[in-house]
Subunit: 666 residues, 2 copies
């Protein structure tokens, strides 16, 4: 074969030449040998145990290992023994503060989920106790949250009506809670916590804003005093329904709603401007509830079109394990609802835990937290609680109020217990409109306009993802909007892989540094060389593209050279430092490319293939000699220096014989 | 804030120091400004027009542009005018050779698709003519292929029985062919051809082998002479059915089948050993058909349990556009079948075209070929043809027989036409058993054991993908096996993105080169520095992992240093040459990481952020000063040199004040 002759020829010359030119060239060595089993083990460890959780057990006595193990499972054993009165004082204050927030929010969110209001209080009693024992965050305030409540309510009411069939609805809600907990704990146990990372920041911001709007729209029912409200969630049907029921609007309710909404929003605004006044916004909801209840009771306002919560049972959580249904026609719905609410509430809980851990400089183990939240929901599902997690707004209040440990959750839980046991009759006259105002105030904070602006500034594509999540949620449905946004995010990653960047490098004069010609204006091309950098792993999805793109680079470059009457290309150097992985399809890129360009009298040179890539190329390359030392260099600088000296040497010795030698036709 | 004080401090020292130490440090410059619109345009062009198809039109006269345009759409205009008698001689020989293969294969594959045998001949008449005008490959031999036939037959018979309702079945087959052509042409027109790249080499090898076994198993019906054969496709039900119908086996058929199978396999073997004898395997099927037909006719063997094809209509393709159904209950099935067979046959056609183009050193435009194959199937669907594409085995024969242009397809087509018009009665006594033997011989070549071995050697994970495709096809179903394998391939890519490699770099003594410490044994760590290389784009799916992994590297490294009483880390250098892209979540990695390590008195230094990364970091970085010149270097070597000189300078001037200065507590 002619091309081979030429390269052998060339080879001889270069080896002959290297004798007279002394130059240090560093060899590319194959990585140290590891068996497939070792590699697999390593790979699995990096995938599932990147945090190396057993690290602390190494080199400990077996008694110590038991203690560490117990502390690992029950973080309460870690901080419990050192607990002091000083810490308790701080926790007491913060616990009472979040309880004053948790009670009205619990009732409101339960209504958002189409559940009896008391379930919201039940859910603020048991889960915080479980979390206090298992959880590792010191700031998380546990309880029901708006978005999970919304999703639970809306998904379940697609199949079962909460008004016509309240018992079945409640059963499904508890079953869905069980599955949510089950999925959450499984993700943690199977160390699959990274699944929630697929909800990118942009997706979450869009999703939260959309959900906040959907939640607020639902509150128009209680804020306007409408009795025949639509069952649908989307922006269009809700607004439609609101305008078609204008005759149902009650001016007394609207007035009251407007008043409390303004009070609550002002309180929120004040606390945001001056973080030390956090107790204003923390106490405002309870104050509004008390005020409005007294008002209704005093004026008998429930007779004038203002709807009230009505009688609530006194007493603690009744057991509900007999209400869990693991069979029947609605099982699929419970599982699906559990999965979606579980993952959404997990995302919120973990993000909240991490945010405050970073502020106080301790670390929260994601997978461990998932187990804690999961167990909390499984226990909750058999004690009349629905899906709970760490809520952002409440945790922020907890943090600002000076919470030191999870004891603040216990204080909150005890306060709720007291309420459940003795104070329930007081809520009989609480108007629904004030609950609506509380929810709207709570979710307004989920709309983060400044974050949206900064996303627009940094990355337009992320902004599109955000917009899709937002529009999907408000116009299609909460879960589909989320799915669309996640789908687009993953599609973007795949697209990046399918169309990796290839960049032409040039030499920065006076150095050994080679950088992107289009980025560094002072970088210069080296005559006779085309230096390309491939900036992605090479795999089945991009091999064809890369091969065609590289051939096009060569063609364009040669046309340009011909136009300028420059030296034609002798070597194509592929800088592989950024190629972190390769597969069997990818390996064929190099052999095919080499064959294709050899016909043009061009040689292929590889620079710095990384360990894995090097290994696979070597194994694939028993016959073709892609991995010959003179085709393989450690840096672009060395490759260019070594090859251009051999090129000079070669041309000086062959120009006498005739230039056609270059094409291997001698 | 204390940590900031420390870094400012340090900053001052370094700037003071740099005055007395003269060292050339190259600045990292932001890439040249481009507007968002320009970037979007560029991105879209790289995604959909990586081959820049309009390149050749640039700078041409408008008449020339018309000619080039017409040639672009109809490649026949390119080679037609230069066609000569010499070329025709070569094409005639190869055309007759592939016709002798196409006629028996056409009949056999139609039976595999549960269609009347004559449809296979119709499909070898019209599509080759269309392809000869539109196609750009010179070697592709067009006609029905085994795998697409199998999938079409099996998918359609899930809903409609080909024996009970043959007319409806035929209508659905033509409709599915129309949709296959429609999807193929659309992929080409929308420049989405890269979708077929998602079928990796490993997936295809596993899939082909599985399909070959399924196809061969189906032939047991005719090879053993079974009359009551199962309708299912899987390995288990077919073998089950074969053993339960032992009493139906006819020894005459088995004997005849065995004989012809051995003859055909021997012919195939001979041609593979000596490529010059390609005509042996090319002619063998037709020879077997003729021989067996004469044998049956002479001995009246059809009366002795040997089933024959029976009467076939003479005449050319009847029109079938009135048989296309775009409504009704089976529309979904037609669309789905069209999509799957369309993509599978496209993959085969494009791969075959590219393989032979590479051998003869011309280029085939993937998207253009897709349009050609798509139009061919759309035309086919209204002229009684089912799905066709370029078949590998037949194209190889075409190539070996010396085909020069697409005229060999026209010759084949004319030969089939003559057969359809005059020779159909001759096939009346052709036994089905010989068709079974022809199919088995044809698909045996799809089982590529040596490729499977080389995949095992190069990449174990790809082998798993291959195995999944193979086992999925033979145990579950053809389309699900394929879907599973594609899913796993994509999951692998996502996993690589979610868990990117971070590598510790060390200095290769005596150079400026920094390479992986675990790969290059002579690389040395630099005291006071931790140099990490991130080998993937940073995005939402891996930001959390990277942040935790980098913090763990620091912790491990510090523990190690403490044990050895080395200098503690002062700088963490992140080498970003391999980070080709970043998103908004990824940007927060650097700011968060910087905050986290500043508390330990460590500074974060970035090396060589690429254009896009640089831009986004700058835009995100209005407040924090991540992009300060002394935190940003062009190469690791320069960063280490510059920082260690400032470190020495700093330590010599601060050790007097007290080492605690390092922690910012002075």
């Amino acid at each position: 074969m002619e091309p081979n002759d030429s390269s052998n020829n060339n080879n001889m010359h270069s080896s002959h030449c290297s004798l007279d030119i002394s130059m240090e060239v560093h060899k590319v060595v194959p990585p140290p040998h590891r068996s497939s089993l070792q590699k697999l083990k390593n790979r699995l460890k990096e995938t599932f145990f990147p945090d190396d959780p057993l690290r602390q057990f190494k080199g400990q006595s077996s008694k110590q290992k038991w203690i560490l193990g117990a502390q690992y499972v029950f973080p309460v054993l870690q901080w419990g023994p050192n607990y002091s009165l000083k810490l308790f004082k701080a926790d007491l204050v913060s616990g009472l503060t979040i309880a004053s927030l948790a009670i009205p929010q619990g009732i409101s969110y339960a209504k958002l989920a189409n559940l009896p209001p008391i379930v919201g209080l039940y859910s603020s009693f048991v889960p915080p106790l479980v979390y206090a024992v298992l959880g590792s965050s010191r700031d998380l305030a546990v309880g029901p949250v708006s978005i999970a409540s919304l999703i639970l309510g809306s998904m379940l009411s697609q199949e079962v009506s909460p008004t016509k069939d309240p018992i079945l609805f409640l059963q499904l809600a508890f079953t869905a809670t069980f599955f949510a907990g089950f999925f959450q704990a499984s993700l943690g146990l199977l160390r699959l916590g990274f699944i929630i990372d697929f909800l990118s920041k942009a997706t979450l911001i869009g999703f939260m804003a959309g959900a906040a709007i959907i939640v607020s729209l639902q509150q128009l029912k209680s804020l306007l005093g409408i009795t025949h409200f639509t069952k649908q969630m989307g922006l269009v049907p809700v607004l439609n329904s609101v305008f078609h029921t204008r005759n149902e609007w009650s001016w007394q309710t609207v007035l009251m709603g407007f008043f409390f909404l303004v009070v609550l929003l002002l309180a929120r605004h004040l606390s945001m401007r001056k973080p030390k006044l956090f107790w204003v916004s923390a106490g405002a909801p309870l104050a509004c509830v008390i005020l409005s209840t007294i008002f209704v009771f005093a004026l008998n306002a429930q007779r004038h079109g203002i709807s009230v919560i009505g009688k609530l049972h006194e007493g603690l959580n009744p057991p509900s394990w007999n209400m869990l249904h693991f069979h029947g026609s609605h099982l699929g719905l419970s599982v699906k609802t559990g999965l979606v609410t579980g993952i959404i509430s997990l995302t919120e809980g973990i993000a909240v835990g991490r945010t405050f851990a970073a502020l106080k400089d301790y670390r929260v183990d994601g997978n461990k937290e998932m187990i804690a939240i999961g167990v909390m929901n499984i226990v909750g599902s058999s004690t009349s609680c629905y899906v709970t997690t760490g809520a952002f707004s409440r945790s922020a209040v907890n943090h600002n109020a000076g919470a030191k440990t999870a004891v603040s959750n216990i204080v909150m839980s005890v306060t709720v217990m007291v309420t459940l046991l003795f104070l329930m009759p007081l809520f009989q006259y609480t108007p629904n409109v004030v609950l609506g105002a509380i929810i709207v105030t709570a979710v307004v904070g989920l709309i983060d306009v400044s974050a949206a602006c900064s996303i627009w500034k940094i990355d337009k594509f992320d902004f599109v993802v955000m917009l899709c999540a937002f529009l999907g949620v408000i116009f299609i449905s909460v879960q589909e909007g989320l799915a669309i946004a996640v789908g687009i995010s993953i599609f973007k990653i795949l697209l990046q892989i399918t169309r990796p960047r290839t960049v032409v490098l040039g030499n920065i004069p006076g150095t050994d540094i080679y950088r992107n010609l289009h980025h560094y204006k002072d970088a210069m091309t080296v005559p006779g060389f085309l230096i390309l950098c491939i900036e992605a792993p090479i795999n089945f999805a991009n091999t064809m593209y890369l091969s065609e793109r590289i051939l096009r680079w060569i063609e364009e470059y040669e046309n340009e050279n011909n136009a300028k009457k420059h030296l034609s290309i002798r070597y194509v150097i592929l800088e592989l430092s950024a190629v972190s992985a390769i597969d069997t399809t990818g390996v064929s890129l190099f052999t095919d490319l080499r064959k294709a360009i050899e016909k043009k009298g061009i040689e292929l040179v590889l620079v710095n293939p990384l360990g894995e890539v090097m290994e696979k190329l070597q194994r694939a390359d028993k016959t073709s000699d892609l991995m010959r030392p003179d085709n393989l260099y450690l840096t672009v600088g060395e490759a260019v220096a070594s090859l251009s000296s051999s090129m000079k040497c070669w041309s000086s010795s062959t120009f006498v014989e005739g230039t056609h030698g270059a094409d291997g036709q001698n």
